[in-house]
């Protein structure tokens, strides 16, 4: 038996070697093409992530060598009133901002799906804020719109609100978060386009037969459109939640990096930035970053787990 195998090996050795060599060459070429991304991933993403995990267990001020402190940075989080405020502000933003944005995006997508003329123009017009939404200039304009004696303050005053010269929304700590939520809701263009693509996939014959069976528009939407749209909804929800946890630009610009007034726009990432780059507490900032990563991971996992109950893919029995 052994002899036969050896003989067979000897017989087919040359072509197999050629194949193996060719295969290795192909694999090598594949990795060569991948190398820019791989180098970028290991050097710019994975490497710093591992480094920040290590630093989160140290006292590190950027200038001196890090000294180990065990879990002290993590336990300090629970007694730091600014940290707890940052968690509160961020959670409020996530809980209200992301769903509101998706509701508006879906509503506009449904309207555009029924539009007979000019839908291309409206699609572009509604998508535009998403393209420029994260920019510094929009945050500055937003601030100007909601500040003292601004257009929004004047309208509010006209309808019986506080006088236009009382700081506007920017100077009022109870209104700064709604102002930032409005900013993110206004940037509904990207999820709207995805919803619109999903709506185009809903078979019209299903809707028509439901209509023949006497289903009204609300029933058709909740029983046919929404379930068929659920994978798209799931995708959009996941993206928006992750983005909302990481919000930074708008609060940084509007509060001039302070998270004010009175910590009302102190988002998680803004506070992390302050601790890291203003106070040089890199170990503490790293611990904050890892807690955020774990929380986003848990939220994502939870969404995936619950998705079995409410996301319906094509061919599903449910």
């Amino acid at each position: 038996m052994m002899t036969a195998q050896l003989a067979s090996g000897a017989q087919h050795g040359a072509p197999r070697r050629r194949t193996t060599w060719r295969r290795r060459r192909d694999i090598g070429a594949g990795y060569a093409f991948l190398s820019p991304w791989l180098i970028g991933f290991f050097v710019l993403t994975a490497g710093p992530m591992v480094a920040s995990l290590v630093l989160s267990f140290t006292d590190y001020d950027l200038f001196s060598a890090p000294s180990p402190v065990g879990f002290a940075n993590y336990t300090r989080l629970f007694t730091d009133s600014n940290y707890l405020q940052a968690v509160k502000v961020t959670l409020l933003y996530v809980v209200f901002g992301a769903p509101l944005k998706l509701i508006v995006a879906l509503a506009v997508a449904v309207l555009l799906n029924h539009a007979r003329g000019g839908s291309g123009f409206y699609r572009s017009a509604f998508y535009l804020p998403s393209l420029i939404g994260g920019s510094v200039s929009v945050a500055i304009v937003w601030k100007a719109m909601f500040t003292d004696k601004s257009i929004v303050a004047n309208i509010g005053s006209f309808f019986g609100g506080p006088p236009a010269e009382s700081g506007g929304w920017v100077g009022n700590p109870s209104m700064t978060l709604p102002m930032l939520i409005l900013l993110t809701v206004w940037q509904f263009g990207a999820p709207m386009i995805i919803f619109l693509a999903g709506l185009k996939q809903v078979p019209t014959e299903l809707l028509e037969s439901a209509s023949v069976d006497g289903a009204g528009p609300v029933r058709r939407f909740t029983r046919i459109t929404l379930p068929m749209l659920s994978p798209v909804l799931f995708f959009n929800l996941l993206l928006e939640l992750i983005h909302s946890f990481q919000v930074f630009n708008s609060a940084f610009i509007i509060s001039n990096g302070t998270g004010g007034p009175v910590r009302s726009t102190l988002f998680y990432t803004l506070y992390l930035y302050q601790r890291g780059f203003s106070d040089f507490q890199m170990g503490y900032a790293s611990a904050m970053a890892w807690v955020l990563l774990v929380v986003i991971g848990l939220v994502t996992l939870m969404l995936f787990r619950t998705s079995n109950a409410w996301v319906h893919y094509g061919g599903d029995e449910k």
């Binding site: 950027l62 100077g171 001039n256 009175v262």
Partner: protein
């Protein structure tokens, strides 16, 4: 096997890190550079400062004058706003890639010095950086941890500025040189009353206990210290409470410019927007006040004195400083530029008093003759007044002071919004000081 490989990888990474850190840090041999330096030395240096376009234009002119003297030193210029400037410097400091010459803030000096990021300039004094005309007291403000880590570009002093246009419109006489704190309260209420019918309503002042320098001068007026020699607070929580409560009545009856309006105007300020009359700040900011408020009719007088005291406490304070970074490879060339900017009368002619009142008599005279900015005359007049007063020296600021000053502002905002009491203010300030100053 895996362990061995892991160990090899870690070892290789450590060697690479050491090699890289060796390449980026350290800097050149300063004594050798000082000996070899002459007018024909060839070098390329970077110089960074904070400020606006106007300051950038003036530095461009000053550097072209420097290049007439040192034609082979190429200077790369870089500037940003104050906040962006420090974000960039802090990041560079971590990588030991600070610019060769950089503008330094008195609040940050001790921190940067403690972290050994700045070059001790003493070895460069003889051959490269004589600093002719600078007094020992001027040099002493740039000393930290026993080293000469920074040189002041000029001086300023705490002051009270007022908007003449606004007061004229409300028909209220200007504040005088010799007001007391009690008289100031009456003045503020008077402006409030007159400005109530304006659209938007105009006020006498914002809450002037909102900044730490104000507290420092207030302590000095009481004849008390602020920081001990080892950088710890020389005041109690009760002292802080007494200070912020000294205007409790004005705060309670809404006599100050509303914090909501001030927050909405940030990073500008109600004074700069022409909405209240008095502004407490260091005298160098007079030019900024004139530029931002769009009027040159801004007056400057000393901050009020305590009741029954007829002299002011007006200790001068370094306005801006220059430092050579420890990581610089061209320390001598950077020090030559520093020397030129601090001592040259031609530079003073370009900047006037916008970097502070120049440190040397020659430069001060040049600034007075030129009137490069509309703020020069009033600032120089104010400086002469300050010099005529016998006052204690401004305290040395400990490492971590910058964080404390920011914290004071944050907490004061919470106090003004009614979110915390003055006692909580003091408690939280001391909590922060225990971390930042290491009490």
């Amino acid at each position: 096997m895996i362990r061995k490989r892991l160990a090899a990888v870690v070892a290789a990474a450590s060697v690479a890190a050491l090699v890289l850190s060796g390449c980026s840090g350290g800097g050149g041999d300063v004594t050798a550079q000082a000996k070899q330096f002459n007018k024909n030395t060839t070098a390329e240096i970077s110089f960074a400062w904070w400020g606006n376009d106007d300051r950038a234009d003036r530095f461009k002119k000053a550097i072209s004058l420097f290049n007439k003297k040192y034609p082979n030193i190429k200077v790369t210029r870089n500037f940003a706003s104050f906040a962006d400037y420090w974000t960039a410097r802090n990041t560079e400091a971590a990588g030991r890639t600070l610019p060769d010459l950089m503008m330094m803030d008195p609040n940050q000096l001790a921190e940067y010095s403690r972290k050994h990021l700045l070059q001790d300039l003493s070895p460069l004094r003889n051959n490269v950086m004589p600093l002719d005309g600078l007094s020992d007291s001027a040099l002493s403000v740039g000393k930290a941890n026993g080293e000469l880590d920074s040189i002041p570009l000029g001086t300023n002093a705490w002051s009270m500025m007022y908007n003449k246009d606004l007061l004229d419109k409300l028909k209220i006489p200007y504040p005088t040189d010799h007001m007391t704190w009690s008289e100031l309260k009456i003045f503020v209420r008077k402006v409030d009353k007159a400005g109530a019918s304006a659209k938007p309503s105009q006020y006498g002042s914002s809450d002037y206990t909102g900044s730490l320098p104000g507290f420092i001068y207030w302590r000095m007026q009481q004849g008390e210290g602020v920081f001990t020699k080892d950088g710890k607070p020389a005041f109690t929580q009760q002292d802080v409470v007494d200070y912020v409560d000294s205007v409790k009545d004005l705060r309670a009856d809404g006599s100050f410019f509303p914090i909501k309006r001030n927050a909405a105007l940030s990073p500008k300020d109600g004074f700069l927007a022409g909405q209240y009359a008095l502004w407490f700040n260091f005298s160098t900011t007079l030019l900024q006040a004139m530029t931002d408020s769009g009027t040159n009719r801004i007056g400057i007088v000393p901050a009020p004195a305590p009741d029954g005291v007829d002299t002011h406490v007006l200790a001068t304070h370094p306005s801006l400083l220059l430092s050579v970074s420890a990581n610089s490879q061209q320390k001598a060339a950077a020090a030559a530029l520093l020397n030129f900017l601090v001592t040259s009368p031609d530079v003073a002619k370009i900047f006037g008093t916008s970097l502070g009142v120049p440190e040397t008599q020659q430069a001060r005279t040049a600034a007075a003759e030129t009137n490069a900015t509309p703020a020069d005359k009033p600032i120089l007049r104010y400086d002469r007044y300050v010099q005529s007063q016998r006052t204690p020296a401004y305290p040395s600021l400990p490492a971590g002071y910058g964080t404390i000053e920011t914290k004071w502002g944050d907490l004061h905002q919470q106090l003004e919004y009614g979110k915390i009491t003055s006692r909580q203010f003091a408690q939280q300030l001391f909590d922060e000081m225990s971390v930042s100053l290491g009490n």
